[in-house]
Amino acid sequence: MDWIAKINDAVVNGRKKEVGQLVADAIAGGVPAPDVVNQAVTPAMNTVSELWKKGDYFVPEVMRSAATMQAAMDALKPYLVSGEHGKGVKIAIGTVKGDIHDIGKNLVAIMLEGVGYEIENLGVDLPPERFVDAVRNGARVIGMSSLLTTSMPEMQKAAAALNESDLRGQVTLIVGGAPITPDFARTIGADHYANDASEAVDILNGIFG
């Protein structure tokens, strides 16, 4: 039984209710847990990312696959040793103060987790110091999201807090959200701008491998 192919297929097609059992069966069948992650789950999310870029998948499909991936990872957790898989890079991501929108930010978080990053999802409506604290707590990448033009000044403040801290040299700042533009990202001193979750994955994979 090709468990790897079945789990990969379940994640790509969003069969969330089945994937837990498939993972259990794979483990029982002798497939090492890291192999399930590295040969089924991560490649599946890469496929989802490609389908999104091509315009075949949209946010609902990507989110469903991401939720399926999370269900698979939940089933795998008891069998995974910390550090055995993944890139060993911690990313903290959140929506800036005055903004409670989180779907885009959550999608970025899930996609990045799917390809092996450790994610700290800081939530929404975050004051600038929360992002700085996240770096103190080990984040090497900070992701900031804003969906409202009215919260863009808050992103500017949060970026300023990070830029002015003594931690700036050890962190990569990536920003995104509907009103955010590459020009704005440059103006506030961000290292990168991502138009969507897929682009965020590509950019960070380009840095961290």
Binding site: G14, K16, Y57, F58, V59, P60, E61, M63, R64, A67, G98, I100, H101, D102, I103, N106, D125, L148, T149, T150, M152, P153, A178, P179, T181, D183, F184
Partner: protein
């Protein structure tokens, strides 16, 4: 010279006026110039009227949006802060509560009732302008109540609940649109979460389109016009939205104006779609070039209204807004 109201009504009828109307989605941009804070503009009727007066004087507008609108994000945030309410209307218990909810009549909602009072004042103060109010669309309203992340799961796991929720939100939106229409205000439904930046064509057709159709039919059955705005990218559902029979369709910058003219010329009033961020980051020349590009695509179409793709950010330079409007007035002759 025609009034702004006459220009917009000519566009709805597909009749010629002197120039292409200009349709701006503005908020409290001229509050400071009028001597008020943004919060005063967002929450105080007299301040909102005075700011609107300065706005039309500065820009010789054709159309205005009625201020003090609790359904617009900036006003919603201001009112909720004033009232000490949390910023979100999400209900964790919505599946349990929904069956017991009846549609809240517009005048039973104190904030929306105050907005209807504002609509009445605006009709008296600005008779020569095409007056609109932005009403939040049923899908975005549903996602606010349910939670966007949860709704994405419901698409797969509980479709019936989503249909029931949309039935509730659509009936609420219809009631609000008809209440505004009764006063002489055109309902402009903004359903930002219904765009392809948020959902897929499949989800739109299954979960949103039937309810948008119900909304359009309800407003038109009472003799009104309905404008629809969906933020973000809309190209894959252009034909679906045109099938609704909306009177006006406002598209955002990520959508293609060229493609909409290809599939929709003459079928609706096309509105848009200059990038709102150009008003913040761009130069006068950038805006004039973009305005000319839109006018060229329209090719003097009588059912075209030029404007930004979405609300102009508050950070926009007032000189940029003025430059854009002046260019459109001069170069948009029909």
């Amino acid at each position: 010279m025609p009034t702004g109201k006459e220009r917009m009504e000519a566009a709805f009828r597909g009749e010629k006026s002197d120039r292409t109307p200009v349709f701006l989605l503005l908020g409290g941009h001229y509050a400071e110039k009028a001597g008020y804070s943004l919060e005063q503009f967002l929450t105080q009727p007299d301040a909102a009227i005075e700011v609107s007066k300065i706005t039309v004087d500065e820009l010789e507008s054709d159309a205005l949006f009625v201020p003090l609108n609790p359904l617009m994000p900036d006003a919603q945030e201001a009112f909720r802060k004033l009232m000490g309410k949390p910023p979100s209307i999400k209900r964790a218990d919505i599946k349990e509560k929904l069956p017991k909810w009846g549609v809240r009549l517009p005048r039973e909602d104190p904030l929306f009732s105050a907005h209807l009072d504002m609509c009445e004042r605006m009709v008296k103060e600005f008779p020569d302008y095409h007056l609109n109010t932005m009403i939040g669309g049923p899908w975005s309203f549903a996602l606010e109540l349910r939670g966007a992340n949860e709704a994405m799961e419901d698409i797969y796991d509980d479709k019936q609940f989503l249909f029931d929720l949309m039935e509730f939100t659509t009936n609420t939106v219809i009631a609000r649109c008809l209440a505004a229409q009764e006063i002489g205000i055109t309902a402009f439904v903004g359903d930002p979460s219904a765009g392809m930046s948020m959902i897929s064509p499949k989800v739109y057709r299954e979960h949103v389109k039937p309810f948008h159709k119900k909304l359009v039919d309800a407003v038109q059955a009472e003799g009104g016009h309905l404008g629809l705005h969906i933020c973000g990218y809309m190209d894959p559902i252009y034909e679906d939205v045109l099938e609704l029979g909306v009177d006006g369709l406002s598209i955002d910058a990520p959508s293609s104006l060229e493609k909409l003219f290809e599939v929709g010329r003459g079928k609706t009033v096309i509105i848009g779609n200059v990038d709102p961020m150009l008003f913040v980051e761009g130069s006068r020349e950038d805006l004039e070039n973009m305005a000319q590009k839109c006018l060229d695509l329209a090719a003097k179409d009588l059912k075209y209204v030029i404007g930004p793709g979405c609300q102009i950010p508050l950070q926009a330079k007032l000189d940029n807004i003025k430059a854009f409007v002046d260019y459109c007035h001069t170069h948009g002759t029909l």
